[in-house]
C-alpha cells in the first residue's frame, strides 16, 4: 500500500460523505497539531485558536492537496504557516519592518494564500557588517575551517545549548559521533583561538551533558 495514502483524505477528495471524512481527519490529527502549537504558545486559548485555524485552512485547501507528499508533510506546512502568520500578526502590531525570506517571491503554493510569508523580520545589516571587527572575522574563519559536521556540532551545542542526544537526532548521527566531534573541535579551536578568546573551544563543562 502506498504509505502516503490516507483513506479519509481520499474519501473527502472523492466527495464521499465529506463531513464525516473531515471529522475523521480532524480526529486523527488533532493531538499532533495541538502538540505542535502547545510547544510554541503560552495560553490554552491561543493553542486552540491556532488548531482551529489550521484545520480551517486544511479544509479550504484540501482540494489542492495532490498527494505529491505525505499528507502529514502537507499538514506540517499548513500548521507552520498558520503559526508564522500569527507571529507576523503580533509582530506587525508592534513595529513596521521589512520582511525577507530566502525565497523572496513565492506566488503559488498548495498550502494556502499565505504560504510565502517569511518567518521573521530583518533588523540588522548584512553579514559583512559583523565581520568588520577583527576578532569576529577570526572567529568566523576558524569556524569555517572546521569540518562542516564538526562545526555544526559546536554551533548546536553552544548557540542552541542542545543536549548530545538532541544534536544526534537533528544531525542523524550517533551520540558518540557528537562527543568525538566536540572533543576534537575543542582542541582545534583552543589552539587556533586561544589568544583571542577566553575558554576558546568552549567551556569544558559542556562535555558534561545534562
Amino acid at each position: 500500500m502506498d504509505e502516503r495514502r490516507n483513506i479519509w483524505v481520499e474519501r473527502w477528495q472523492k466527495g464521499i460523505d465529506r463531513e464525516e471524512s473531515f471529522h475523521q481527519i480532524f480526529r486523527q490529527y488533532y493531538r499532533l497539531v495541538r502538540s505542535f502549537f502547545a510547544r510554541r504558545s503560552r495560553s490554552e486559548e491561543e493553542i486552540e485558536d491556532l488548531v482551529q485555524e489550521t484545520f480551517f485552512r486544511v479544509h479550504r485547501n484540501l482540494d489542492h492537496f495532490r498527494g505529491e507528499s505525505k499528507f502529514e508533510t502537507w499538514l506540517f506546512q499548513v500548521s507552520t504557516n498558520v503559526y508564522k502568520n500569527a507571529v507576523r500578526s503580533q509582530t506587525t502590531q508592534k513595529r513596521d519592518a521589512q520582511e525577507v525570506s530566502w525565497d523572496e517571491v513565492e506566488t503559488s503554493s498548495a498550502t494556502g494564500e499565505d504560504a510565502a510569508i517569511p518567518w521573521e523580520v530583518r533588523e540588522n545589516g548584512p553579514l559583512d557588517d559583523l565581520l568588520q571587527d577583527e576578532r569576529s572575522r577570526i572567529l568566523h574563519i576558524a569556524m569555517q575551517e572546521l569540518p562542516p559536521q564538526m562545526r555544526r556540532c559546536v554551533e548546536l551545542r553552544v548557540s542552541q545549548d542542545m543536549k548530545y542526544r538532541e544534536i544526534a537526532a537533528l544531525m542523524d548521527v550517533s551520540i558518540d559521533t557528537v562527543k568525538a566531534h566536540l572533543f576534537q573541535a575543542r582542541q582545534l579551536l583552543k589552539k587556533r583561538l586561544g589568544d583571542y578568546f577566553a575558554e576558546a573551544g568552549f567551556a569544558e563543562a559542556r562535555f558534561a551533558d545534562r
Binding site: E20, Q24, R27, Q28, E48, H59, S69, E72, S159
Partner: protein, 280 residues
Amino acid sequence: MELGVLDKPSFEESLRELAARRLAAEGHPTPEDLAAYRAGELATQQHERIKDHLAICEDCSRLFLDLAEFERFEPAQSISPADAGAEASWQRLRDRLKEDGLEADKLEDTRADEPARVLAPHPSRRRVPLWQRPAIPWALAAGLALCVVGLGLRVGSLGRQVDRASEPQPARIVSLVAEGEGTRGENESPSIRSGESIVVDLVLPMDLTAGGPYEVKALPAAGEAKAWTLGPLWAENKALSFTLPRAIEPGDYVFQVFGIDGEKRTLVDSYRFTILPAQH
C-alpha cells in the same frame, strides 16, 4: 600584543553573537524548504545551506524536529475512543465551517439514504437528550428496548464490556457471541452479517447514564464503501439494539456510538466489526 585573560571576550558569547547576526542577515528557510531538505530533494548547495542554518537557528531546528515527528506519525486506522477536548474542538470548527458558508457543498450531510430499522422512539425522548441526564431511571428505557423489530438472527451480546470512552486508549476489539454458532471472531474483529439484529453492550461514561438517544455510525475502515448512520437509538440496561441495513456492503467497519443533543454529537465509544455477506 597578547591580551590578558580578563581582556578576552568569551568564546561562547562571541559565537552566539555571530550566529545571531548571521541569522538576521540570511533569513530562514520555508517549511517547504525544510520538507524538501529532509526528503533529500535539494541541490547540494542549498542542502548544505539549510544544514548550516539548522545548526545555528533554534526556531528552525525545532521546526525540523517537528517535521520529523509529523512525517513519522501514523494515524490509527481504527478510530480511537472519544477525546472530549477533540470533540468539543470539532464542534467549534464544524460551526465555523458552516458559518463560513463558502463551501457549503463540502458540509452537506450525506447520511444514509436508507433508514435503519430501529426502535420507534417515544416522542418525549426525541425532544429531550436523555443521555445527558443522569437522573433518568433505567426503567423508562426498558419498555422501549423490548420493541426491537430486527429481522433474522438475534445475536447474543458482546462477550466483553468496553471501557469508558473518556479514558484515551486504542480502540478495543470485542468478541461477538452468536447463539447456536458459538463465538465468532473472539478477540479479533468480530463479524456480523448484514440483516442481523445485534445487541451491543455499551458501557456509558459516568456522566452519561441515561437511555438515549444515541446514533451509531458505521464507517468503512478501508475502501470506498458507503458509511451508514443508524438512529436515533435508545439503550436499555446499557445495551443498544439495532438491525443493519441489508444494503450495507460487507467489509471491515468501525462503529462509532454518539450521544445526540440536537445538532450536537458526542462520541461515546467505538467498536470494530467485520460485516459478512447476508445469508439467504
